[in-house]
């Protein structure tokens, strides 16, 4: 009688699974989102001496500075940028003394063409974007931050750094941040806390509050 028909419960299981998959593949509004990308986002190439980032960093002394290292095609990095935009930058009080530097690196195939779409996730004009085509900056920051998986160095990307207002980039390498978070596997999570937008926002606000008190 109903042998050749699937009962409603079975159908619903299949439909739910297919529905979720379809949502992922179709319903995310990807192409629509890309068509709204602000292609006027300005970015500059980073040279072997980390210029102009180094000069910008030192010029902005007195500001809390965020440095974000991402691949503009990496979904986790894009999530980090979006979280920073939504949970940190969008909630800043007006006139907050903060600067944001985003260093884009080609780790899993990102190119400079991907930067405008990634930059839009921050919803701010506070950020300056840099393109490090050689990827050397990630190796340099790996050493600065001491990113290790066992004894193996871990390339610095998908990393989110906070610098206090007094930090100065006087040596060849960038200074140590006052706080960092990451979304990298294999790191000691005690030493290097994994990404949590709320914690990061709290740390940014604390750093801003301390700098305001000193002023």
């Amino acid at each position: 009688m109903s042998n050749h028909l699937l009962p409603a419960r079975s159908i619903s299981v299949v439909v739910i699974a297919l529905g979720i998959s379809a949502l992922i593949l179709v319903g995310c509004g990807g192409p629509k989102a890309e068509s709204q990308v602000n292609s006027s986002v300005h970015f500059v190439p980073l040279n072997g001496d980390d210029q102009p980032l180094r000069d910008d960093f030192n010029r902005d002394q007195g500001f809390v500075r965020l440095m974000l290292l991402v691949d503009p095609r990496c979904p986790e990095c894009l999530r980090g940028l979006a979280d920073t935009g939504d949970a940190v930058l969008a909630k800043l009080p007006s006139g907050a003394r903060i600067k944001v530097y985003v260093v884009h690196e080609p780790v899993i195939g990102g190119t400079d063409k991907d930067i405008p779409a990634a930059a839009d996730l921050l919803h701010t004009t506070l950020a300056r974007h840099y393109w490090n085509s050689s990827g050397d900056f990630g190796r340099q920051m790996s050493q600065v931050l001491g990113l290790l998986h066992g004894s193996r160095p871990v390339y610095a990307w998908d990393v989110y750094l906070i610098y206090p207002p007094k930090a100065v980039w006087s040596d060849k390498d960038p200074p140590q941040p006052s706080f960092m978070m990451h979304q990298l596997p294999g790191l000691d999570n005690e030493k290097f806390p994994p990404w949590d937008a709320k914690v990061f926002a709290t740390k940014v606000n604390e750093t801003l509050a301390v700098s305001d008190q000193k002023d």
Binding site: S10, I16, A17, P31, R73, P75, G186
Partner: protein
């Protein structure tokens, strides 16, 4: 009563969910998500990636249901088609191997990174 209807549902569901788990597992180490879903879609996928282990657990539960359905004792001998039952068991075993392979593959990026 045929067991096909109740076995096909959970098995199909397990296959669908394992594909979803693979999408969550692989999305974050490869650039395809941005190409396929756009930036907003890739961010959405990355934000939901934490549910991957639960999705994998659900595939195992659904496989368990499928095995229970095809191996449970029939209440009556009437209507029991042995050939069909064997075919169904092969189908569930095949799907189980596929689902487990996909589930393992979905975790691979965490260990290869």
């Amino acid at each position: 009563m045929s067991r096909k209807p109740t076995a096909v549902g959970p098995t199909g569901g397990a296959l669908g969910l394992s594909a979803l788990a693979l999408a969550f597992g692989v999305c974050c180490v490869s650039p395809w998500a941005v190409t396929l879903l756009g930036v907003a879609g890739a961010v959405w996928l990355a934000r939901l990636a934490f549910i991957q282990p639960y999705v994998v657990a659900a595939t195992i539960v659904l496989l368990g249901v499928s095995f229970w359905v095809v191996y449970r004792r029939p209440r009556t001998a009437a209507g029991c088609n042995v050939a069909k039952q064997h075919k169904l068991r092969w189908l569930v075993w095949g799907a189980a191997i596929l689902v487990i392979a996909i589930d393992i593959a979905s975790f691979a990026p965490r260990f290869l990174a």
